[in-house]
């Protein structure tokens, strides 16, 4: 008997609602349905379903799950169900379905069976299968519950992080993405057919931007200052083409006070006091798509 007393309860036991009734008068009454109503309520509510209740009945009497005395178990099961109804506990429909199943098995057990008995012929086979299947997961649930777990048994170790210099990263952009985007624009705009665009050397366009941005409002800059010897002949040509293009597009004013006098350039219309801002005068684009 000593050994029995020392039989440790499964670790997870105290997690289970059953623990609530342990040591209560209930446990002192073996194999009998006399149970104080409030304790019974606790028990009944603790069942996780009809399979759980059945397993309870079977284990309580230490019966083998493979050889359930169906008549007995069915009677006990029905007693519990009736009790639950009397106590007006919410009774899941599954309990009644199981009651019907038990009744059916019981009646089939009364029929004579062929001697070459196999699993399939045993009316209890399906029930036994389901009980075992459920039981192994009921056990697995207890096993999982007793695993060392965070918060309850283990705690994350942490240390205060250092002061972090956080940089807000800027998006990366690959040249291909840019080119593919442009190709799609061109396809959309059907610009590939415009040959004049194709022929235009980009360096001229680039130089146009450089020339323009080096100009200040209302200040005439000597024409020659745009040409740098170190850029060589190509550089001079590119700059010259850029300036011609700018003049053609009306973006530059060219002034020469007399023939052969130095040529000066200023941004067209820059007499208007205009900031470097693109906001303001320009109308906001209407309707985004």
């Amino acid at each position: 008997m000593n050994e029995i007393a020392e039989t440790p309860l499964p670790a997870a036991q105290e997690e289970m609602p059953f623990a609530l009734v342990q040591g209560e008068p209930l446990t002192m009454v073996p194999k009998d349905l006399y149970i104080p109503p409030d304790a019974l309520e606790v028990i009944l509510e603790a069942f996780a379903g009809p399979l759980d209740l059945l397993l309870y009945l079977i284990k309580r009497q230490n019966l083998d799950i493979l050889d359930i005395p169906i008549a007995d178990i069915t009677r006990q099961y029905m007693d519990y169900i009736n009790m639950m109804e009397i106590l007006k506990l919410e009774l899941a429909a599954e309990y009644l379905v199981m009651a019907a199943m038990l009744a059916e098995i019981k009646s089939r057990m009364l029929l004579p069976r062929p001697t070459s008995d196999t699993d399939e012929d045993d009316p209890r086979a399906e029930l036994v299968r389901r009980l075992q299947e459920y039981e192994r997961f009921r056990q697995a649930a207890e096993d999982i519950d007793s695993l060392p777990r965070m918060e309850r048994d283990l705690h994350q170790a942490s240390a205060e992080p250092p002061l972090i210099e956080q940089e807000k990263p800027l998006p990366d952009l690959k040249l291909q993405e840019l080119l593919l985007a442009f190709r799609d624009v061109l396809r959309r705009a059907e610009m590939f057919s415009h040959h004049h665009i194709q022929r235009e050397p980009l360096s001229v366009r680039e130089r146009m931007s450089i020339v323009l941005s080096s100009l200040k409002p209302n200040v005439f800059v000597p024409f020659t200052s745009f040409f740098k010897v170190e850029e060589g002949r190509m550089g001079v040509v590119v700059t010259f083409l850029a300036i011609l293009e700018l003049i053609k597009e009306g973006m530059l004013d060219v002034v020469q006070s007399e023939p052969f006098a130095p040529i000066h350039i200023k941004a067209a219309g820059s007499s208007a006091e205009k900031g470097d801002d693109d906001e303001g005068a320009e109308p906001e684009p209407q309707g985004q798509d």
């Binding site: 050994e3 039989t7 499964p10 036991q13 997690e15 289970m16 609602p17 059953f18 342990q22 209930l26 446990t27 002192m28 009454v29 194999k31 603790a46 379903g49 009809p50 399979l51 284990k59 309580r60 230490n62 083998d64 799950i65 493979l66 899941a92 599954e94 199981m98 008995d117 196999t118 699993d119 045993d122 036994v128 389901r130 075992q132 299947e133 459920y134 039981e135 192994r136 997961f137 009921r138 056990q139 697995a140 649930a141 096993d143 999982i144 695993l147 777990r149 965070m150 918060e151 309850r152 048994d153 283990l154 705690h155 994350q156 170790a157 942490s158 240390a159 205060e160 992080p161 250092p162």
Partner: protein, 247 residues
Amino acid sequence: MDYQKVKNIVEGALMAAAKPLSLNQLDDLFDLADRAAQQDRPSREQIRQALQDLEEEYQNRGIELKQVGSGFRVQVRQDYEAWIGKLWQEKPPRYSRALLETLAIIAYRQPITRGEIEEIRGVAVSTNITRTLQEREWVKVVGHRDVPGKPAMFGTTKEFLDYFNLKSLDELPTLAELKNLDSFHPELDLEGDGDKKLSGEEAAATESGEASTVEAQSEPDGVAETAGDTNVVDLETVQEVRPEQLH
């Protein structure tokens, strides 16, 4: 880079992150924009070595390095929970049997639909349970079964492994194997295939095993019922099975 420095950075990162870090995440820490730093980058092998060395250094300490589902984590040893637990007023959450059973079925049988879980449990699975499991990020919808209604299939997450201190699903406790009625009626088995030849002894073993349990069970109902739960069926004939599948 000096190995000691690598180890210190790995340790610092694990502690600063306050969550598990994968080897990739640790490796990424050394991707600095600085070109010089980049050339001085430790190898993956060195990082692995640092983890191993830290694990050893923590051997006799209050903390331990543990590999769980989503990576490596430094955690306080369970041995000291009695004291450490006092840091918090509230008790850690407890979970109902219904929730744990549902979680167990998902863990061992994933991917699985609610209907399939209900079939095993023999009772409806409340939406509360699946919602709680998903909110805790232990379970997620991993797909939909291709049957009418396209029910969601559930599976467990890395966070589930993290929470239960597991590296992979393989580390789950083994699931009891099913017995069939044959093993209870060995004398009726006329076909002596390999498996069944043993059944005679097996049955005997079962009987003696259960005899001892019977004794233990002569305890008042409540105690005996719960204490004996696992033993009765499993005692001798149960074999260990690895959870099927996984990941």
